[in-house]
């Protein structure tokens, strides 16, 4: 017997066809009786099999309903592959939202050829295996009325993919704020007010923002609007839908984030860091030795910057979650991981203000720390400590305690002394606050949680690398 029925509230519940339950390391989907035949029919199609084989769709398996306590007698139960580290759209850089949108449209186009459609089009239908998006909502597929020329999820696709990406690229609205504050994305009217006069008449603003805003103003109170009206023929309906989906694809590509984005933290290791090639090689060799010793299956790289050490871990077989506060550098990690096919999932997460739990009763989307709790064999905190302690004013002891909550076993951390040039750059006249901040102080602060495995100073720098192991096994 698995789980409790109460857990159903914590998953997905908006779809009347079913709900998702998280039960420890298993992902279960309860399907209501009137939708089981349709789901079974879809899962047995060549389309569904091909999508699962190509890793575009999550695998699903029907399991005995008796396995779940409290299930209604006529409900059916399915189990899905568990994505190791689920993430939410408000943690993605623009590149990942764009990739999730492309996957959604590709699936809608393929489904159309087989007589199916997607009944919703939200980024919450997509999770990431490393840098690769996977569609996880099998109940989203349904047989479409072959004469129906409309896609009911079109507006949702525009609100949750196209408009946030456009607003991010053209107005600099951060996706993190846009999508965490608005579950269902941006309305065309919101963008219309911000867009310039000329911009309103250029593509894709004309189709996505201006025309919808004008049309809505004229017909807002008309409930008859949504009454069904079929196309003249099956071929015509398919033709219209195929064109609509392809035009969405063009609009999505026109909103694609630029690859040459620049920020304070981009190209850091190449141009802005104080590491010489020799010193960087020393750091790399310490990380390599640590990886060879620990052989982690999972790594959290906190403060990953452009993911130099995330890639190093992924090349040695680890599944890496790389977090940083800067969406530009996180986007560049995604591009590289995708190009090199490395198992790195980059996320825009600030360790000092980690993603909170959100949604209905704060239970729809888990907090970052709830997902991270014990999820990683080793945590990297390289060139991060001084930012947390000085810029964010988080006590060192707190940082080391947090690392012990997240890591199952090891911590790889870089101690940056107040004499360090980068430390001095951010301390800005507050040196007196850090007069106690010595290597001895750091080692004493680590002691309650961590046992030293090895450490070394980086030649010529006021920086030390430490590999620690937990003193007590994680409960």
């Amino acid at each position: 017997m698995i789980a409790t029925p109460d857990a159903r509230t914590a998953g997905s519940f908006r779809d009347p066809a079913g709900s998702v339950i998280r039960s420890r390391d298993r992902i279960l989907r309860v399907v209501r009786p009137e939708f089981v035949a349709e789901l079974e029919a879809f899962l047995s199609t060549q389309l569904a099999r091909r999508l699962v084989e190509s890793a575009a769709l999550i695998p699903s398996e029907r399991i005995p309903a008796e396995l779940l306590e409290g299930l209604h007698a006529d409900e059916s139960l399915y189990e899905h592959e568990r994505i190791p580290f689920p993430s939410y759209p408000y943690e993605w850089p623009a590149e990942m939202l764009h990739a999730a949108g492309l996957l959604t449209l590709d699936l809608a186009l393929k489904a159309l050829e087989e007589g199916y459609g997607l009944k919703d089009a939200t980024p919450y239908n997509v999770l990431f295996r490393g840098p690769r998006p996977v569609f996880v909502d099998v109940l989203s597929f349904e047989r479409r009325d072959s004469c129906d020329p409309s896609w009911m999820a079109y507006a949702q696709f525009a609100r949750t993919f196209l408009l946030p990406l456009l607003a991010n690229r053209d107005f600099g609205w951060p996706l993190q704020q846009t999508l965490s504050g608005r579950r269902d994305g941006l309305e065309p009217e919101t963008i219309y007010r911000t867009a310039g006069f000329v911009q309103r008449f250029t593509s894709p603003y004309l189709q996505l923002v201006t025309l919808p805003t004008w049309l809505a103003a004229k017909r807002r109170e008309d409930a008859s609007l949504y009454h069904p009206k079929p196309a003249g023929s099956v071929e015509q309906a398919s033709y219209i839908l195929r064109n609509l989906l392809n035009s969405c694809k063009k609009q999505l590509n026109s909103a694609e984030p630029r690859a040459d984005g620049d920020s304070t933290w981009s190209d850091y290791l190449d141009h802005k860091s104080l590491y010489s090639p020799q010193q960087l090689a020393e750091k790399e060799s310490f990380v390599t030795e640590a990886l060879d010793l620990v052989r982690p299956a999972t790594v959290l790289d906190a403060g990953a910057n452009e993911g130099h050490f995330s890639m190093q871990a992924a090349r040695r077989g680890a599944a890496v979650v790389a977090i940083d506060t800067d969406p530009v550098v996180v986007g560049s990690i995604w591009r590289r991981a995708r190009a090199e096919n490395l198992d790195v999932q980059p996320l825009v997460v600030d360790l000092t203000r980690p993603t909170p739990a959100s949604g209905w009763r704060n239970q729809e989307c888990m907090s970052f720390l709830d997902r991270a709790d014990g999820a990683f064999d080793i945590v990297f905190m390289l060139a991060l400590m001084h930012h947390i302690v000085v810029t964010e004013r988080i006590p060192l002891e707190e940082l080391l305690a947090l690392a012990a909550e997240v890591s199952r076993e090891y911590l790889l951390i870089e101690f940056v002394a107040p004499q360090d040039l980068m430390f001095q750059r951010i301390v800005r006249g507050r040196e007196v606050l850090y007069s106690h901040f010595t290597q001895e102080h750091f080692e004493a602060a680590a002691k309650p949680h961590w046992e030293l495995v090895r450490s070394r100073q980086i030649t010529g720098l006021h920086r030390w690398l430490y590999l620690y192991r937990r003193r007590r096994a994680k409960p």
Partner: protein, 69 residues
């Protein structure tokens, strides 16, 4: 028996009427639970009408230029 003669312009006229009818119509049934919006829904209706017209126009051209056996 010889094939009955078709006036391509009357075919085009009826197809145009269909296209105009679609232009005035709204898209069809409600599938999912996602909010279909108002402006975007109407935009889709206009889009369907235009592209639906293109569909019939292409068919019409296809009939004109199709080689007869």
């Amino acid at each position: 028996m010889s094939k009955p003669h078709r006036n391509p312009f009357s075919t085009f006229g009826s197809l145009t009427l269909v296209a105009i009818a679609i232009l005035l119509a709204s898209p069809s049934r409600l599938f999912g639970y996602a909010d279909p919006g108002t402006g975007a829904f109407l935009y889709q209706a206009v889009y369907a009408a235009c592209i639906g017209g293109v569909f019939y126009f292409r068919k019409f051209l296809g009939r004109i230029f199709r080689k007869r056996p």
